[in-house]
Assembly symmetry: C2
Homo-oligomer: 412 residues x 2
């Protein structure tokens, strides 16, 4: 009961800070004495702090000045990392959350699991030392991975692009940090990140679609990540869109990600050029279309290159068809489009909107907006921060501040 109300106060503080006790009481419907008591506890726990008085004469009329409250930025720090296919990324934020430190490092899957994990650990350790300087308490560690995760025990079940299988990441990390550990799918975290700190703020039912090397997805329902029964929901990329389509890495044919992904885009362009069509991209890559990158494609599109625009039109159409299907099936409030392909959002989104108008049921499509993700490369790590943030907001009374950060420093 008290835990629930503490959490309610924290949530309202997050969304409305700075705000007074009286205002919190009104918002939450709780009695003001109750709010006072809860706030007192939160201040003691250092999650909340007073930040002076409401400036007098701010149009509020007569009465005693209100004491404004905010979440305490130095309540603790959060570590969030991502294991990408060819990079590691770690950020450390305070509770504001502002980034205190960040670092990215190139890897490749051939380095081997153990080496990559050690690198990740070293980065996290560096982030930790920066974090504890100002914030003292480690609130949690989140790690996003490009694969299926069994949330319950942080087991990475299957990451085809890393060629990893059944890696107990959660257990490994638990051995090094005396704080809650979250391991989750990269797109799921990114979805939550957009919900907390990005384009989806204020929306409780969000579909996130991340198109990059492949096509991943995340569902936020009621403000929480929707995990299917085995925690492996929202693999939109492997919905069959064309039963006789291109072969997919997963072994099936015509998966959505064979139509909408960086790979699909490049394939279309290469085929076009291969068939003798002219394109700015040939010059931009000096004839080596193996060097294609999404930014290059966007540049070509802006320059009006016909083949590129056509490719984006085709990809956008497929993206739109899939989104319309999902909108009909799930009736979300907002669809957020992210991933590296979202750099081409200016060209893709109008096509998507058009397709959604054509194929979405009237009521569903009218209730749904489509937006570009705010966080690009950082989407996942920011989502990890959001995930820890969420865990702390949900049960602020269970954080053990004393021994919250205690790292086994041997052999790191």
């Amino acid at each position: 009961m008290r835990q629930i109300n503490l959490s309610v106060i924290m949530h309202h503080l997050r969304e409305n800070a700075p705000v007074s006790r009286a205002a919190l009481a009104e918002m939450t419907g709780l009695n003001k004495t109750t709010v006072s008591s809860l706030v007192h506890e939160l201040i003691e726990r250092k999650f909340v702090r007073e930040v002076g008085f409401e400036p007098p004469g701010s149009g509020r009329g007569v009465g005693r000045l209100a004491v404004l409250l905010t979440l305490n930025p130095v309540a603790g720090y959060i570590l969030s990392g991502e294991i990408g296919v060819d990079f590691l990324s770690v950020i450390c934020t305070d509770f504001a959350p502002e980034t205190i430190w960040r670092h990215t490092e190139a890897i490749n899957p051939d380095m081997g699991q153990q080496v990559i994990f050690d690198h990740l650990l070293a980065l996290l350790h560096q982030g930790l030392s920066h974090g504890c300087e100002t914030c003292n308490t480690l609130l949690g560690v989140a790690v996003g991975v490009p694969g299926l995760v069994d949330q319950a025990n942080g087991m990475l079940l299957f990451a085809p692009n890393l060629r990893w299988e059944n890696v107990p990441l959660g257990a490994w990390l638990q051995g090094y940090f005396e704080a809650p550990i979250i391991v989750d799918n990269e797109a799921n975290l990114a979805a939550l990140g957009e919900h907390y700190f990005g384009a989806a703020q204020g929306y409780e039912d969000v579909l996130y679609i991340s198109a990059g090397v492949g096509l991943g997805g995340g569902i936020v329902h009621g403000g929480r990540i929707y995990t299917g029964v085995t925690g492996f929901g929202a693999e939109f990329g492997h919905m069959t869109m064309d039963p006789e389509g291109e072969l997919c890495n997963c072994g099936n044919r015509g998966c959505w990600e064979t139509q909408v992904s960086q790979r699909a885009l490049f394939r279309y362009l290469r085929r076009g050029v291969g068939q003798g069509r002219k394109s700015l991209l040939s010059e931009m890559t000096e004839g080596n279309l193996g060097r294609l990158t999404v930014p290059l494609v966007v540049e070509a599109a802006r320059a009006g290159d016909a083949l590129t625009l056509e490719a984006l039109q085709v990809i956008g159409t497929h993206l739109g068809i899939g989104i319309a299907s999902l909108v009909n099936a799930l009736n979300p409030e907002l669809v957020v489009f992210g991933g590296i392909l979202s750099l081409a959002g200016d060209f893709l989104l109008p096509v998507v909107e058009n397709e959604l108008q054509r194929r979405g049921l009237r009521w569903n499509r009218n209730a749904t907006q489509v937006a570009l993700a705010r966080h690009g490369f950082d989407a996942c790590v920011i989502g990890g921060v959001a995930r820890i943030f969420q865990a702390v907001l949900a049960e602020p009374d269970t954080i053990r501040r004393e021994n919250a950060w205690k790292m086994v420093t041997e052999n790191v």
Copy 2:
């Protein structure tokens, strides 16, 4: 708090009755005094009753005999109706819930909204008089419709097959019954019905797919109907499966329901016969394939008719592809297949399973079972009962027993 615990007790009673107070305490983790107090209140409110002692010597060992508790069948009665495209159906059940009374009536949309509503009201009224004889208290009225419903106010937004739009069914019913009114989509209710009383008992994350005239769907997530943001989720039938496919009633092309529905099945068969292929169905319908019905098709399939088997194979493949996509996207525990087409389940399900094996991601498909719906024609009304049941279990202390049934009897 108390409300929550009352609800917890009710749920455990539903799932484990008959059961003793001590066992409830153990299951819920509540203190046994608390359980006693809660049970006492529930007995006073007539939702629960004692049903004698646990038979001695039932392998339980020593100790005082336990008093067994169950939900009280005559706690009240539930009215549930369905407005179909060509029928009305109403049942009245007690709180067991056992059917006390039921009736079905043919209609057709041309009769007009007001006439159909009056017929529905008359049926509900008949059910009510049967219900109050034994059970006294009306616990709620549920009505399922083949269309989009805004749950909040029971507004039927759009029912293409009835050609109704913006009908305030909830408000109308509220004027006649002094009890909670639920108006919801037919497939959503059916999904909940399978969860409470059918093939999906014990599964908390269920996809329900109903193939009949069209293809509808329902999602049960965490034991509750998943409504999208506007309460219009799970319109699986209008996911685009083939961008250039057949024209659908909704105006788009290649919707799933153009591939998997009674209409799609009959179309395939008629085309086959039209192309000169032999089929038992020609004889069975005496050459008039306009008379096709699903039972006839099933009969032909059982007799080994090649065209029929081929048709079911094709439909089953499309069904399987769609289910695989949904399984990948939503990772449910169970997929339940219902609707009139489920009569052909023996022929369709193996094909579906096969397609699921091919197209489902390994982890998802392994976590997901596919089952036939238990309730056929009654799925929706039973779901309506479940919906009311759920509402009562959720807040047993808010039911006003005194004036719960008070019907405006004028002009009915």
